[in-house]
């Protein structure tokens, strides 16, 4: 009987010690989290979740290594696919095809932001004149040896505004042309989506296609 009582005491002690340890460590974790989180929480949290998507090479390119593609004909076709996943309601976006160089693609680019501001303002004010202006400026980002445009209907501009519904899939054909069938230096075609335009600002999503000589 004494032996049973001893074992009972040991088990009880272990349970108590475990509970104390658990409480203690949990407190430390909670204190730690309080220390790490901002002292004053944000007034509101916003979710900027873009629809899923990516670009797919259809023709005119071959892989050149290190993430680069090189042209194999004067005209190449790329499909930008937008899937209305991760969005709860219909959303309007402007899709832009912009050209820059690998050295500048990551840096803050005032010229690009001037274009994005103009597009965002056009969307906010529902002003098609501003969109046309922006489209002309975007065209100037391309060098003589490389052109790209969105090929929908009769239009062939580097700017396209569309609406997408949840679970809907859109395929936007983008034609890339090089009159010589090749380029003299490396370029980056940036596929940009502009959306969630509010008075405060706007959101963007970028994806890069690297082109080498």
């Amino acid at each position: 009987m004494d032996s049973d009582y001893k074992y009972f005491l040991i088990i009880s002690s272990l349970i108590v010690i475990t509970l104390i340890m658990f409480t203690l460590f949990s407190s430390i974790v909670i204190i730690g989290e309080r220390y790490f989180i901002p002292w004053e929480p944000p007034k509101k949290t916003y979710y900027h979740i873009f629809p899923a998507g990516g670009y797919k090479i259809i023709s005119g390119f071959k892989k050149a290594g290190k993430g680069y593609y090189s042209l194999v004909s004067k005209k190449a076709l790329v499909e930008f696919i937008v899937r209305g996943e991760y969005i709860n309601e219909s959303q309007t976006y402007a899709f832009i095809v912009y050209c820059t160089t690998p050295e500048k693609v990551e840096d803050f680019n005032p010229a690009l932001f001037a274009i994005l501001d103009k597009v965002a303002d056009a969307m906010y004010k529902n002003n098609s004149d501003l969109l046309r202006e922006a489209s002309k400026i975007i065209e100037k980002s391309f060098p003589r040896e490389l052109k790209a445009y969105i090929n929908i209907g009769i239009s062939s501009t580097p700017l396209y505004v569309f609406e997408i519904n949840p679970k809907e899939t859109l395929r936007i054909p983008v034609v890339i042309e090089a009159p010589l069938g090749k380029v003299s230096k490396s370029y980056v075609i940036v596929f940009i989506m502009v959306g969630e335009v509010t008075e405060e600002g706007y959101s963007t999503s970028e994806m890069c296609l690297y082109i080498s000589p």
Partner: protein
């Protein structure tokens, strides 16, 4: 009821195992795997411009303090441009950021808490704060910028808000070996007047240290997963 010594040992081991598992899970949830940061500031001296950046980055969280000021005096011609940025897990290396081998779909997400002010006293050309979640690819020994999700704040005023940036990227290039993500925040201010006499132009993005940590950008997590 007779309790055997073996039962006591098994129970004790089970309890210890259970408690250590709970602690481990909590600890991983609290500490996402990123720990390095990069700062950069570029003031151009035409008119008056200044920029400053500071950062704290530790496993589990990162804080940045940014300042960009551009100022052209009234009655004078001049240009001013200033920018500063902080990128968590910049110069990506496998292991510093969450990394993922090639997958047909990847989801990148991060959270920012921004608290500070965008100031425009006299119609500066540009003043903005940009937060972004950048995705990088790795192929044939080379890291490159793959894409990003970003939010640009342009309106002057005080900010105190949380922002989740997220996107599922479809990847059709099967030669890509790995992906990784970074969190980047930039402050930009520019003022320009080329035909005098000019009005006074002053723009500033001030997510800076005065009263720290009352003005800061806070990044608690950065994630990359299959979608």
């Amino acid at each position: 009821m007779k309790i055997k010594r073996k039962t006591v040992i098994i129970l004790a081991l089970s309890l210890l195992l259970l408690s250590s598992t709970v602690f481990t899970v909590l600890a991983e949830k609290r500490a996402p795997p990123y720990a390095n940061a990069k700062t950069y500031a570029l003031p151009l001296r035409s008119g008056y411009a200044s920029a400053d950046a500071d950062v704290i980055a530790k496993p589990g969280y990162g804080r940045a303090r940014l300042l960009a000021v551009a100022h052209v005096l009234g009655g004078m011609e001049g240009e001013a441009y200033a920018s500063s940025y902080v990128e968590f897990n910049a110069d990506p290396l496998p292991g510093n950021s969450p990394t993922l081998s090639w997958a047909p779909r990847i989801y990148a997400e991060t959270y920012f808490h921004i608290k500070g002010a965008i100031i425009d006293v006299g119609g500066a050309q540009d003043h903005r704060l940009i937060i972004s979640c950048n995705v990088y690819y790795y192929e044939s020994g080379h890291w490159g910028f793959y894409g990003c999700i970003a939010r640009s704040f342009r309106n002057p005023g005080d900010y105190n808000s949380g922002h989740v940036l997220g996107k599922c990227f479809d990847v059709y290039d099967m030669d890509i070996e790995e992906f990784t993500v970074t969190a980047k925040c930039s402050a930009v201010a520019a003022a320009s007047c080329r035909q005098g006499p000019c009005p006074e132009l002053y723009g500033a993005v001030d997510f800076y240290s005065e009263g720290y940590p009352y003005k800061y950008i806070y990044v608690p997590y950065l994630e990359l997963w299959l979608c």
